[in-house]
């Protein structure tokens, strides 16, 4: 399409308004991914920046393109990488299920509370989210420690005789993941549950359905979009989580975010870190698309309710 026709179709004011955030995101969000993809085909080099150029010009005027596929080959064939990706997906999945199981009853209780106290209850859920994430993880370090509060309590009350190993293992990892991500699950669930037409439950009751059956047949299906949005909001960032496994996870905890961090900061292997990131994006593209769809649906659905 030639420029004249394009300019005629797009009103200049409208185009300018759209292009402001659009160009920002193209330059600072989309283009960087293409660069990551490019550098994942480079090799590590002792230089600044520490990777080779993909394209070089030879003395005889030839253009040499060197694509290094070894990074991807390594990720796909090395058993440790496969284990790490699987382990990250498992940790993210279990965290999502835990958040759903704990978060659903809380969101439900808030949505069914008196309207005048609902806002306060929701604020109380969000308040820890507003305070620092890092400090909330740190709080658990003091609780779960060998001499921490939980062990002190258990020993003092005689429930156990020796302090338990609560720290630097799967238990502490999942507990803190649950703690950190719980508000992200509660919020979308609440916004769906609070909009629900409660007369449906009355009708079910009048027709003889027991509360549990009414919940299973009516409330749960009606909150499906909230469940999916909340699950994606927990699952996607949890796959790449770095801080929690680093601070409270076990030394044998395999998480892809940790591997990427180590490749980049400790091994200075930028091409490998890029390949790890590229592979992670490939794994997450479907969940991200799902999240986007349900997020949009929820936002636009509000208008018709």
């Amino acid at each position: 399409m030639d420029l004249k026709r394009l300019l005629k179709r797009v009103k200049p004011g409208r185009g300018a308004v759209i292009s402001l955030p659009y160009v920002w995101l193209l330059v600072f969000f989309l283009v960087p991914f293409l660069i990551v993809l490019k550098i994942s085909f480079a090799s590590q080099d002792i230089a600044i920046p520490p990777f080779t150029h993909l394209m070089t010009f030879g003395d005889d005027g030839t253009l040499n393109i060197a694509l290094n596929l070894a990074n991807f080959q390594f990720i796909l064939t090395d058993a440790l990488y496969a284990d790490t990706y699987l382990s990250s997906l498992r940790v993210a999945f279990v965290t999502t299920v835990l958040c759903l199981m704990i978060g659903y009853p809380i969101a439900y209780a808030i949505a069914r509370a008196r309207p005048d106290i609902r806002n306060g209850l929701l604020l109380a859920v969000m308040l820890p989210f507003w305070t620092s994430f890092l400090l909330r993880v740190y709080a658990w370090m003091g609780l779960l420690n060998q001499n921490g509060l939980i062990n002190q309590f258990l020993v003092a009350t005689g429930i156990v005789h020796e302090p338990l190993q609560l720290f630097h293992n799967d238990f502490s990892l999942y507990l803190v993941m649950l703690y950190a991500y719980l508000p992200f699950m509660i919020l979308p669930l609440y916004s769906h549950l609070v909009k629900m037409d409660l007369r449906l439950l009355e009708a079910a009751n009048d027709l003889g359905a027991r509360p549990l059956k009414a919940f299973w047949k009516i409330t749960l299906p009606l909150s499906k979009n909230g469940i999916i949005a909340g699950a994606m909001m927990v699952f996607i960032p949890a796959v790449g989580e770095f801080v929690i496994p680093e601070l409270v996870g076990g030394s044998d905890t395999l998480m892809i975010g940790k591997v990427l961090w180590n490749e980049f900061f400790d091994n200075n292997n930028w091409p490998m870190a890029s390949a790890v990131a590229t592979f992670m994006v490939v794994l997450l593209i479907v969940p991200i698309a799902l999240f986007h769809r349900f997020e949009t649906r929820q936002l636009e659905g509000e208008k018709h309710v």
Partner: protein, 297 residues
């Protein structure tokens, strides 16, 4: 029987346990910040010594100042870009490339930060190779990273408010011959001002809190507060961090509760005024030939 707002004992128990889970760790942080002992989990009597040593720690003070500067700068930029983006998504709906735009708007919220951090760093490295700017990593690169992350959140808040409010006010202004710019600044912007304010607060906290993206984008001379905290807690428990956490919780808690109270009040007043204007309009149109009673002033 379902909507009388009375919770069963089961739901009350759920809430009690839920809030216990959310707040016990934070309360324990606060209690042990007043511990005289250097061993964080062994109580050695009441003391405020960690607060005074915190305020004498130059590394922490300069990190707080840098973090505050970055947070303010990125929140301002994120509010402008995010409001425009939210407006575009809510009002323009379909345009060339709108699917890509909407996707790029939601992705930063869930994308693991190791990926966004790495990719932005590589962008800046490439820019430096080709254009020579930015010459070093620091304030500017962190600011760009935080702005991109925060604008996504602002756009969601603004967009959902825009979809919620009555578009007939904007339509009425259009019918009365107001130009789009005037409508945006006189009607749309005031209607979403609360959403913008909460987007601003959200951006401040996201930026103050960000560790992973910042770690990739910061240079040798620019260490933010989360980076200092992270390097300290990696080595284990540290009573100064407890004192810092207590101050953070109190400051953030006060701001959030006060802001929430003010916003709820303002929102209620505004909704009431709109409803009154609508009623007046209805009454008016029954009397005369249906002149809209909404004033642009």
């Amino acid at each position: 029987m379902y909507n009388d707002g009375r919770l069963s004992w089961f739901l009350k128990g759920v809430l009690a346990l839920g809030y216990l889970f959310l707040y016990v760790p934070i309360l324990s942080l606060i209690v042990y910040s007043f511990n005289a002992s250097k061993l964080v989990t062994v109580w050695g009597g009441f003391s405020t010594r960690w607060y005074s040593s915190l305020f004498q720690n130059d590394q922490i003070i300069s990190a707080v100042l840098l973090s505050a500067k970055i947070a303010l700068a990125s929140a301002c930029a994120a509010v402008v870009l995010g409001t425009v983006a939210g407006f575009v998504l809510a009002r323009f709906k379909r345009f060339r490339g709108s699917t890509l735009f909407a996707g790029m708007m939601t992705a930063p919220m869930v994308m693991p930060e190791v990926i966004t951090g790495l990719s932005m760093l590589l962008l800046f490295i490439s820019m430096q190779q080709f254009f020579g700017v930015p010459s070093e990593r620091g304030f500017f690169t962190i600011w760009v990273g935080h702005t991109t992350l925060c604008m996504a959140y602002v756009s969601v808040v603004v967009r959902s408010r825009l979809l919620e409010i009555d578009q007939s006010l904007e339509d009425a202004a259009m019918d009365l011959g107001a130009r789009p710019m005037k409508i945006f600044f006189k009607i749309t912007l005031p209607l979403v001002s609360q959403a913008i304010a909460s987007g601003f607060l959200l951006s401040i906290t996201l930026s103050l809190d960000d560790l992973v993206t910042t770690a990739f984008l910061s240079g040798p001379g620019s260490t933010t507060l989360p980076q200092v905290i992270f390097s300290k807690v990696r080595l284990g428990l540290n009573p100064e961090i407890n004192a810092l956490a207590t101050i953070t919780v109190l400051v953030v808690g006060t701001i959030v509760i006060v802001a929430n109270y003010l916003m709820m009040n303002a929102q209620r007043k505004r909704d009431k005024a709109i409803a009154a204007a609508m009623r007046a309009n209805d009454a008016d149109s029954q009397n005369s030939a249906g002149k809209p009673a909404v004033s642009l002033a």
